[in-house]
């Protein structure tokens, strides 16, 4: 059970899917429950090899609903836990993702996106679940979603997903895709010693006076340590219905407490947007046109930006490593300094709705470059940059 087995220090050439597994195990994930669905199958397959090696448990459940439910159970019992899926499987998981958001249960869901709607095409990339990641479950809640753009980032952002889940006590979704999941690249993993400095370990609440849910203190939102069944850091009753900060169900006919709970859950993520979001800027200092993208299209966007620069067009790129919460502050800043924004997405324009909203507020034009079921070619983005420059 040595930690060396968990953190595979060195340089590897592995797929995005395998990198996700290595990232999870290095971050301390010791439980995975999943169900086969293409194109994420390498994730459970690799977990089934790796988890028992480090003393963890892999279980193949009866469906995706059971998978996320088992992950919730494992997280409540004190394990860092994860599931992964794709396509309709992600829809099936929404029920417990919504509940986990409400009960503030840290967990990670990998979504190796494929084309939809319905069964769609199983083996091609598509970013059709961007909005579902945020709005997929019932009720009002906010979520964190990260979007890796390389095999290395499939490792790094999975580690980050576990950290975010622990810190903010929320489900975190990794939005990968069929192409990234199967894309083989160099992945460098630091020494265990260095690596562990950046890991947020599972904490247990105090024995006395533990308020189990996020609460307000002097106008500040306090996110207490996660609940752990089998310790005193657990409410005597963990209801799945709406509750106050002690975990007592809200059953009043006029539910004042419900407003407070929903607001706290949403504020926890939205008001901390600047602390949670991660972005990377390329050539933006003097840019007239900004490409804003996430996942693999950000790399295509970078290529297009470089080609535009070669042709004398001042283009730049803002790459979103987190999709949710929406990087309002970073995007506003970009919108203040450019003339127009180009948004390439492998969907009919999902995050574009949000980006366009910010652009309009700042009086900047935003332009969508759609692609379906495949990566854009750089010239598609380049021609839009040239058109709007």
């Amino acid at each position: 059970m040595s930690e060396d087995k968990a953190i595979r220090t060195g340089t590897h050439v592995i797929t995005g899917n395998d990198a996700m597994v290595e990232g999870a195990i290095a971050a301390g994930c010791r439980f995975f429950a999943g169900y086969p669905i293409t194109p994420q199958n390498e994730v459970p397959e690799m977990f089934s090899v790796r988890l028992p090696e480090v003393g963890g448990n892999f279980i193949q459940m009866e469906d995706e609903i059971g998978s996320i439910a088992a992950v919730v159970g494992a997280s409540l019992a004190g394990a860092k836990a994860m599931t992964s899926t794709s396509g309709p499987g992600f829809s099936l998981m929404q029920e417990y993702i919504s509940q986990a958001a409400q009960s503030e249960i840290p967990l990670v869901v990998g979504n190796v996106q494929r084309t939809g709607p319905g069964s769609g095409i199983v083996s091609v990339p598509h970013h059709g679940d961007v909005m579902q990641a945020r709005y997929g479950g019932n009720g009002d809640y906010e979520i964190i979603a990260v979007a890796p753009a390389s095999a290395q980032e499939s490792f790094d952002l999975t580690v980050e997903a576990f950290n975010l889940a622990e810190k903010w006590r929320t489900p975190v979704i990794i939005l990968s895709d069929a192409m990234l999941g199967h894309c083989r690249e160099k992945v460098v993993i630091q020494s265990a010693e260095e690596f562990k400095k950046n890991i947020i370990e599972r904490k247990i609440g105090p024995r006395k006076g533990f308020k189990p849910f996020t609460y307000e203190e002097n106008g500040e939102l306090i996110v207490p340590p996660p609940l752990q069944l089998g310790t005193h850091a657990f409410p005597f009753w963990l209801p799945s219905v709406s509750h106050n900060e002690f975990g007592i169900p809200i059953l009043d006919t006029v539910p004042k407490g419900s407003f407070k709970m929903v607001k706290r859950l949403c504020d926890k993520i939205i008001k901390n947007e600047e602390k949670i979001t991660m972005t990377e800027s390329y050539y933006l200092d003097d840019a007239d046109v900004a490409v804003i993208a996430y996942g693999l299209p950000a790399r295509t966007g970078l290529r297009a930006v470089r080609e535009a620069r070669e042709q004398g067009i001042k283009a730049g790129l803002l790459r979103l490593k987190t999709i949710w919460p929406f990087a309002q502050t970073a995007i506003e800043k970009v919108a203040e300094s450019v003339k127009s924004i180009v948004v390439p997405e492998i969907n009919m324009g999902q995050l574009f709705i949000e980006i366009d909203r910010v652009a309009a507020k700042k009086g900047v034009s935003a332009h969508l470059v759609i692609q379906i079921s495949k990566l854009h070619e750089p010239h598609e983005i380049l021609s839009k940059i040239k058109e709007v420059a």
Partner: protein, 180 residues
């Protein structure tokens, strides 16, 4: 310098294995950056498939193929789908066992790797390693010693010797093809 290649054929022909060997050798042994991606249909075996490899000295932005420098084509379908997508100064590699004719005037090497694998090594799986070393020798894309080490590290211990022989046979085949 960015180099792009596509390997295409049917599932089970070793398309993905070959692309993995190239990308691993480039990334680990030659100290370059490389991305391998593959495309496949819903079937496990026999469907059309291809794998792309990009190799560069710098970090790779766009992971796909814009216009390939090299094509390794293992089926007639692959020829009709991709032969015309190549750069004018690119090189196409085919095996006469599966591909007879290729349209266009691009430089082409016909390497009978399947036949050699069967005749000299008894199993068609060795065609991959023979094609791997022959391809690298002709394109001068990566140092051959480094590539040889990657093969040594990626096969089971028992199979090292025979794979080394297959690797050397590929270089021999390339020398022969280039002198013709």
């Amino acid at each position: 310098m960015r180099k792009e290649m596509r390997i295409a054929g049917y599932g089970g022909q070793g398309v993905v294995t070959l692309s993995m060997l190239i990308t691993t050798a480039a990334s680990l042994a030659a100290g370059k950056f490389s991305v391998q991606t593959d495309a496949y249909g819903p079937t496990a075996r026999g469907g059309a498939c291809y794998a792309d490899v990009v190799i560069d000295d710098e970090e790779i932005d766009y992971p796909g193929i814009i216009k390939p420098d090299y094509l390794i084509l293992f089926s007639k379908d692959a020829v009709s789908s991709y032969a015309r997508s190549i750069k004018p100064d690119g090189i196409i590699f085919t095996d006469p066992t599966t591909v007879k004719k290729v349209p266009g005037k691009v430089k082409r090497y016909e390497l009978p790797v399947q036949q050699i694998a069967l005749d000299e090594f008894g199993k068609s799986v060795f065609a991959n390693v023979i094609m791997f070393s022959a391809f690298l020798k002709i394109t001068d894309l990566l140092p051959l010693d480094a590539a040889r080490n990657i093969v040594r590290e990626s096969v089971p211990k028992k199979a090292i010797d025979v794979n080394m022989k297959a690797f050397d046979r590929g270089i021999e085949l390339a020398d022969q093809a280039m002198s013709e």
